[in-house]
């Protein structure tokens, strides 16, 4: 199994995300944002957290226009799996691979703490190893994690069971407590919380392990 993690100027969770994939059994390639093609034979692309391009203009906006994101969009269009975490979620929304936007937290403050999440669907390759409705503890660290989507978009997410995770105690004003969403084909997921920061006992929690394990199981079976 092969994963790639995209590295933008300002990414700071790229190695953590690579570690998360690696621990689950993936060979991981780091791919620089100026590259125009992804490695051959990839199973999944990770778009990591951080502050790509200094969050200039809007979080994720400049990264979304980078050469490698065209290749990632083409990979997703071919049915490839893509996981975006934190800034990576913002980038996937800016590339329109996922619906909605991430706005400034309603309390205006940067929030960095472990937050309880509810697994809202297990019908995805990212969440299948969790129990339905399970409550998990995953760290968040963001200033712009306030997920917003219009009424029609929210109705579609609900009708198609595409809300992956919700916050138990909505920390940032996100509509419908949404912490993570899936694409229409369920192969692209973005989430603000950091599963790769809860993937080893030394992190203080391991509730993120099941996400990478879900992916590994699904891709081995495929």
């Amino acid at each position: 199994m092969k994963a790639a993690v995209i590295v933008f100027p300002g990414s700071n969770c790229d190695r953590d995300l690579a570690e998360g994939f690696g621990t689950a059994g993936f060979d991981v390639a780091m791919v620089w944002h100026k590259d125009t093609a992804l490695p051959e034979g990839l199973d999944v692309v990770g778009v990591p957290g951080g502050f790509s391009y200094g969050d200039y203009l809007r979080c994720g906006a400049i990264a979304a226009q980078s050469p490698i994101m065209r290749a990632v969009a083409a990979f997703a269009d071919r049915g490839g799996h893509v996981l975006g975490v934190c800034n990576g979620f913002q980038v996937l929304c800016e590339t329109r691979l996922l619906p909605g936007v991430l706005m400034r937290n309603s309390g205006l403050k940067f929030i960095c703490r472990v937050e309880p999440l509810i697994v809202a669907t297990t019908e995805s390759v990212f969440t299948s190893a969790y129990g339905p409705g399970a409550q998990i503890m995953i760290p968040i660290a963001h200033h712009d994690g306030n997920y917003q989507i219009d009424d029609a978009g929210l109705a579609a997410l609900r009708a198609e069971d595409r809300i992956a995770f919700t916050y138990r105690d909505n920390p940032n004003g996100s509509r419908a407590d949404i912490a993570g969403v899936l694409s229409a084909n369920r192969r692209v997921m973005g989430m603000m919380p950091h599963p790769e920061r809860a993937a080893d006992p030394v992190h203080g929690g391991t509730d993120g392990v099941a996400l990478f394990a879900s992916l590994a199981q699904a891709l081995v079976a495929a």
Binding site: R58, Q65, G100, M103, R104, Q148, D150
Partner: protein, 77 residues
């Protein structure tokens, strides 16, 4: 020539920063500030042949996220 692009959150989209500014103005004693919306202004120096339609395309593709933001383009000689 120049283009001045003003990007604002659409009406109905909650603007927590604008709301914080409004609240700060109130607590400083400025009465009667019913609402504050915060946006951005982007000034561009352009080749003389650049058309307003090209600037609008820049707005659609990068300068504004049209899911939540609207933009206004003002071309200046």
């Amino acid at each position: 020539m120049k283009a001045i692009v003003t990007v604002m959150l659409k009406q109905g989209v909650l603007d927590p920063q604008g709301e914080a500014v409004r609240s700060a103005l109130g607590s400083m004693g400025f009465a009667g500030v019913a609402g504050v919306r915060q946006g951005k202004v982007i000034e561009m120096d352009l080749d003389d042949e650049t058309t307003e339609a090209q600037v609008a395309e820049m707005c659609e593709k990068l300068l504004a996220n049209t899911v939540i933001e609207s933009y206004r383009v003002e071309m200046q000689p």
